[in-house]
């Protein structure tokens, strides 16, 4: 039996993803497929243990008459134009009951596709509260489509929808005569079936007066960003100490259980130490995501885009670049993918090129280690933590360099013939849905832990082998690791990085750091654990580098990580999104160039 494919479509921000999570979330994982249809999410939903439905969450769409890449994905999937993808068996067109004027028009467009469909009238509770009265029966009859009320943010809010699909699979609605004017028809349907209150939501009006105020709005935006970075550093600390304690206890336990020998050394120092040195940053990453998710959920982000549009035009970007760039603080990969909503190609490429300059969460472990080692933990101006301030400065340095880079690119590139656009819908404010935020956090934690589990573990093992073998011959003077493959590679490229103050251990760690930036931390741990000879094999990485490196080296490496494109996955996604090796080559070269120059400058000034 083939699995029924159900596509959720609808205008942006009508609650498709909330519905998707409700339908699939608790039972099946939400997968994010890489590939041509990146923005499509797909999940399985199990019914009574017998039947399964595949639910597709498609990018929000205003109209199929579009030039926007994300909307084209939705259109192509609905039309069955994507090779290897079956055309959906059923379309659930999700409609925001508070915004029918806009959303009903799209229902008419979807109806014209001639695929069995059903309308999910979402947020019907909010609509009622606002005084919107909808004659569902009448509307349904006129449309020739079944309409079901849903409340996607409530636990059983989709039960009626599920029952309806189970009991009588909707049929193709009869097509109406050719070219209809969707707006005229929408207007007619609304005036016949819907009573709208004359006033808009007073909460939205009040909030917009504050958040979009020319002065207060900008101050609030700056404060929100600053609070986010302070929180990452200070709120996460107790959780990090907890994890650290747990890892140490586990290491000691293994030390007692296992007999002494190279295997024990490998497991305790290599594996537990290496993985532990990265896992500890999970709380910081989750705090960062918590902020980003709440901002995303609340409806504030498009407001920030509105406030910043003019500034971003000045920098050669667009207000629409704001959301991709903000999500690049989490990780550049989803950030770069979300540039699809930028219609103007030149703006889009510029946004993609500067996205890696936003400090992604994978850089946090590196920053945190170096800050803890070289920046004193003290309070300045009676209010701010110096370490938190340093972190903020690093983030700011990334942002400022992004502004400079995009400004320079605007100057050197030919002016675009394509029109630049904003045309952004500012949604109603919403209280973030706890369930969606938690699901988002959990998904992020899982990605991080799987990465630690697979990539970091594998690289730690490889690196441990490379830095242990070949074993130096009898009579070898010096540290054994110098004779190993890793030691030789490190010494081999040291000349290139010596002007930046990087020693050979850092050079070794930079290489696995290409796979994932945070691996550099565990790699340093491995290299030092092995080369630290026998005095104190269980010594933690932090005191070692604090003692071994000069302040100038520490700062130089910090600055290196502001720019360095040390992440192959980012380069791969740039290639996929731009279909151009030229852009990838340009991104790699300019980022490496900036990293090298900036580190050189910092080291030479401080040393």
């Amino acid at each position: 039996m083939t699995v029924m494919r159900i596509a959720l479509v609808g205008n942006p921000n009508c609650g498709k993803t909330a519905l998707f999570n409700l339908l699939t979330g608790s039972r099946q994982k939400v997968a994010n497929y890489p590939g041509v249809t990146v923005e499509k999410k797909s999940g399985l939903m199990c019914l009574d243990g017998l039947q399964e439905w595949e639910i597709l969450d498609l990018p929000g769409t205003y109209s199929f008459d579009t030039e926007s890449l994300d909307e084209i994905i939705t259109k192509d999937i609905c039309l069955g134009n994507v090779s290897g993808e079956r055309r959906p068996d059923l379309i659930v067109c999700v409609v925001d009951a508070t915004n029918l004027r806009l959303h009903l028009r799209f229902v008419l467009e979807v109806r014209a596709l001639g695929i069995p469909m059903i309308v999910a009238l979402n947020m019907s509770d909010t609509a009622k509260r606002r005084g919107v009265i909808i004659n569902i029966q009448g509307l349904s009859e006129e449309l020739g489509i079944q309409i079901i009320e849903t409340i996607a943010v409530r636990k059983n809010g989709a039960d009626q929808l599920i029952n309806e699909i189970k009991q009588n699979l909707p049929q193709v609605s009869p097509l109406l005569a050719g070219d209809m004017d969707y707006h005229e028809e929408t207007k007619r349907l609304i005036s016949a079936n819907v009573v709208m209150p004359s006033k808009t939501s007073s909460i939205d009006d009040a909030l917009d007066r504050i958040f979009l105020h020319p002065v207060a709005g900008l101050v609030i935006l700056a404060l929100a960003m600053f609070l986010m970075f302070q929180a990452v550093f200070s709120w996460a600390t107790p959780f990090m100490e907890l994890i650290d304690g747990g890892i140490r206890a586990f290491g000691r336990f293994v030390e007692i259980v296992l007999p002494e020998g190279p295997l024990r050394g490998f497991i305790v120092e290599g594996l537990i130490g290496g993985v532990g040195s990265v896992v500890i940053f999970l709380p910081q990453i989750l705090f960062l995501f918590l902020f980003i998710l709440i901002l995303e959920e609340s409806g504030y982000l498009p407001r920030a885009a509105f406030l910043l549009d003019r500034f971003m035009i000045g920098a050669g970007l667009s207000g629409r670049s704001f959301i991709p760039l903000l999500s690049s603080f989490a990780c550049a990969i989803p950030g770069i993918m979300s540039t699809r909503s930028i219609q103007n190609q030149r703006d889009r490429i510029t946004t993609i090129l500067v996205a890696p300059l936003m400090t992604c969460s994978a850089r946090l472990p590196v920053y945190a280690l170096l800050i803890a080692a070289f920046i004193p933990d003290q309070t300045v101006w009676g209010l701010f933590n110096l370490q938190g301030l340093t972190l903020f400065a690093l983030y700011a340095a990334g942002i400022i360099s992004a502004v400079v880079v995009s400004f320079v690119m605007k100057k050197i590139r030919r002016s675009s013939l394509q029109a630049q656009t904003l045309m952004l819908e500012l949604p109603s404010y919403r209280l973030p849905n706890v369930r969606d935020v938690l699901l988002g956090l959990w998904g992020r934690a899982r990605i991080f832990l799987v990465r630690v589990g697979k990539v970091i573990m594998a690289i730690t093992v490889i690196l441990w082998v490379l830095s242990t073998y070949p074993v130096p011959p009898e009579g070898w003077v010096g540290v054994p690791i110098d004779y190993s493959i890793a030691g030789r590679i490190g010494h081999g490229i040291e000349w290139l990085f010596q002007p930046l103050g990087f020693n050979w251990q850092i050079c070794v760690a930079l290489i696995p750091g290409l796979a994932a930036r945070e691996v550099a931390v565990s790699a340093l741990g491995t290299v030092y654990a092995i080369s630290a000879s026998v005095d104190d094999p269980s010594a933690q990485l932090l005191p070692i580098i604090a003692a071994d490196w000069s302040f100038a080296t520490g700062m130089s490496l910090l600055v290196w990580y502001i720019f360095a494109p040390q992440c192959l996955a980012t380069l791969a996604v740039i290639k996929k999104e731009t279909q151009s090796w030229k852009v990838v080559l340009f991104a790699t070269t300019y980022l490496f160039g900036l990293a090298y120059l900036a580190s050189l400058l910092v080291y030479q000034l401080l040393a």
Binding site: S63, T200, R310, M423, E425
Partner: protein, 92 residues
């Protein structure tokens, strides 16, 4: 085209108002979306977003500098439009 009936066009231009000419808090009725070229995707998009004849539109506020972008409201929906986009929508 522009040279023909020059004075008539000028008069027309003086009488025509666009969203970009509105004041904060002002309400108006959309009369049409004026494409600036044969294949103006922005104009098409505006129409798809509901900027069509007969709709009430209200100017809520401007961005922090240079009165750009504009925040306008149609029905319950608020849109951020650049001045260049708003100047395609004629109102009365």
């Amino acid at each position: 085209m522009y040279n023909e009936n020059h004075s008539h066009l000028d008069l027309d231009a003086m009488n025509k108002r666009y969203i970009s000419d509105m004041k904060i808090g002002e309400q108006a009725i959309i009369t049409s979306v004026v494409p600036i070229s044969a294949n103006d995707s922005i104009a098409r998009r505006l129409i798809n977003l509901g900027f069509v004849e007969g709709e009430d539109v209200k100017l809520i506020t401007f961005g922090p500098i240079g009165q750009d972008p504009l925040l306008v409201q149609i029905g319950f929906t608020r849109f951020a439009l650049r001045a260049s986009e708003a100047s395609r929508v004629e109102v009365r």
